[in-house]
């Protein structure tokens, strides 16, 4: 097995948008616009690392995660998960990964147990073992037992996201993809999820690829961080290494926000405003 959990070489992804233009007489033409989501990304993540991808909304973080998840195909370049090519050996890759996305995608009328049992069966797990395991993980994440059989639609966003984290970990992935797992959560739920990620790092032989636009989260959880902007990696180092790129001011330590500003010339908020406008 490759020593790299994730090996990405020259990956590029472009999406084509077709937009209707104004009608001229009976004719209405379509404008074809290419949006570069990722431009020639190179990345190597060793086994056991918690690797952060930090960037504003629309910077290409989720595209990267979806490429690794086999949900997208790259236009060029290659992605390997423990030596298995994501495009040509997708089935082997799927058995090694799981993903927690920013939107907790569930059958909303199903209970957490029903949703997790569906996931367990898809991954070929024994139903009895899976049931015991899912209960233990959900309890560990702070979910109350009486909620396990209630419809997901009656749960708060934070509770749903905890079920999503439980689902992601239920299948014991050796590469766990966390796509903004704490976005939109209340501070308490955010802390619970972050503590669980730290626990995974300490107790399990899993590699974690974490995307976030929360600077503090990246700083606290990750061994190394790639800062991504406009589809390209602008810096890659340990949190301390990145902060060292920017001299401290007035005796205060520099933050990830300072690092982003120094590297891109924009604050995080400005970058996100630009993405919304485009």
């Amino acid at each position: 097995m490759s020593s790299y959990a994730l090996d990405i070489e020259g990956v590029r992804k472009v999406f084509v948008r077709k937009e209707r233009t104004a009608r001229r007489g009976l004719r209405r033409s379509r404008k074809r616009e290419e949006v570069v989501a990722l431009k020639e990304i190179d990345l190597k993540v060793p086994r056991g690392e918690v690797f952060g991808v930090l960037g504003p909304n629309g910077s290409g973080k989720s595209t990267l995660i979806r490429l690794v998840s086999t949900l997208l195909l790259p236009d060029s370049g290659s992605l390997r998960v423990f030596g298995h090519d994501v495009e040509h050996d997708a089935f082997a890759v799927k058995r090694m990964i799981n993903r927690v996305s920013v939107d907790a995608a569930f059958f909303k009328k199903f209970s957490p147990i029903e949703n997790l049992m569906y996931a367990a069966r898809l991954y070929g797990l024994d139903a009895g073992e899976a049931r015991t395991r899912m209960r233990a993980i959900m309890k560990r994440l702070g979910l109350k037992e009486e909620t396990f059989n209630n419809p997901m639609e009656h749960m708060s966003r934070g509770m749903q996201q905890k079920v999503a984290v439980a689902r992601g970990f239920l299948t014991s992935p050796i590469l766990l993809l966390l796509d903004e797992p704490t976005t939109g959560l209340d501070p308490h739920s955010k802390r619970d999820v972050q503590a669980f990620v730290r626990e995974i790092r300490e107790t399990h032989d899993a590699t974690v690829l974490l995307t976030t636009h929360d600077m503090d989260e990246a700083d606290r959880l990750c061994d190394r961080i790639a800062i991504i902007d406009d589809g390209g990696i602008v810096a890659l180092d340990t949190p301390a290494g990145l902060k060292a790129l920017v001299p401290s001011q007035n005796g205060e330590h520099s933050t990830m926000e300072d690092v982003f500003l120094a590297l891109t010339g924009r604050t995080f908020a400005e970058a996100e405003t630009k993405e919304v406008e485009t």
Partner: protein, 274 residues
């Protein structure tokens, strides 16, 4: 754990999920059952009223049974068709499409699970409707060939599984309108397959199109069994034709589905929900 056991667990995931969907959406299920039942009754009453409409003496019993067989068989086949064609649409509606497509389950396994559910669900639903409808009409099926009926039903299911796979491509290609497009496919099959009238009443060019619809053979074969008591041996050529069409359509459907899934992954269409 053997690969077979893993795949069977994967297939069972879709059976259990669909059963859970029925339990959780039981109100919707009830509404659809009432709709299907009243539809079958309304169509059958047309047969009951034929003498009054035409002012001529007509074998009402035969016409009623003829229409009812068409209504029930169409009910069964359309359940198979929709259960399979909606395997992607449900994932779109619930927003789970990415999770399911990321799971280590092959598309044939996905299909086997969905088909097992569809056949079981179709049989139960059709029997419920049949049980209620017989209370309204006096049916004489004394000379019916039940073994032949079951043979035709199973042979017809194979081809409708294939048609369902072909239609399932639409929600994959068109996130917003794909599910509605499958209704158009079902409506065309209903028009051309002789569900409520003999195919021979159609214009010649539509009769040619009807010969390509598996439903035409299923319904003809079923009527031969139920109304004429045709022997099973005589039905074998039709059954083999249906199974042959079914295998061909399933093969083509899986190839097209695989191609379209790849296109969806290339263009990013798995992300959007309908």
């Amino acid at each position: 754990m053997s690969a077979f056991v893993r795949e069977m667990r994967g297939a069972y995931a879709f059976v259990e999920r669909n059963v859970n969907l029925i339990k959780r959406y039981w109100g919707w299920e009830l509404v659809w059952l009432i709709y299907s039942l009243t539809n079958a009754l309304a169509i059958t009453y047309i047969g009951n009223g034929m003498s009054a409409i035409s002012g001529q003496e007509i074998d009402t019993q035969y016409v009623v049974t003829y229409l009812l067989v068409g209504a029930l068989i169409w009910q069964y086949l359309s359940v198979i068709f929709y259960a399979i064609s909606e395997m992607i649409a449900w994932e779109r509606w619930e927003g789970t499409i990415e999770y399911t497509f990321m799971a280590p389950v092959s598309r044939p396994t996905h299909l086997v699970g969905t088909t097992l559910f569809a056949i079981g669900y179709g049989i139960v639903r059709t029997l419920v409707i049949l049980g209620i409808v017989v209370a309204f009409f006096h049916l004489n099926l004394g000379g019916a060939n039940i073994v032949g009926t079951i043979l035709m039903l199973l042979a017809g299911s194979v081809s409708f599984v294939g048609l369902g796979i072909l239609a399932a491509v639409l929600p994959l290609l068109y996130p917003e309108r794909g599910a509605q497009m499958t209704n158009a496919v079902a409506a065309i099959l209903l028009l051309i397959s002789g569900v409520y009238y003999p195919v021979e009443t159609l214009p010649p060019w539509l009769q040619t199109v009807a010969s390509a619809s598996p439903a035409t053979y299923v319904i003809k074969g079923m009527r031969a069994c139920l109304l004429e008591g045709r022997a099973t041996l005589e039905l074998l050529p039709t059954a083999f034709t249906l199974i042959g069409i079914g295998i061909a359509v399933i093969t083509v459907g899986l190839i097209i589905f695989r191609y379209v899934e790849r296109y969806a992954k290339r263009s990013g269409r798995l992300k959007r929900s309908g």
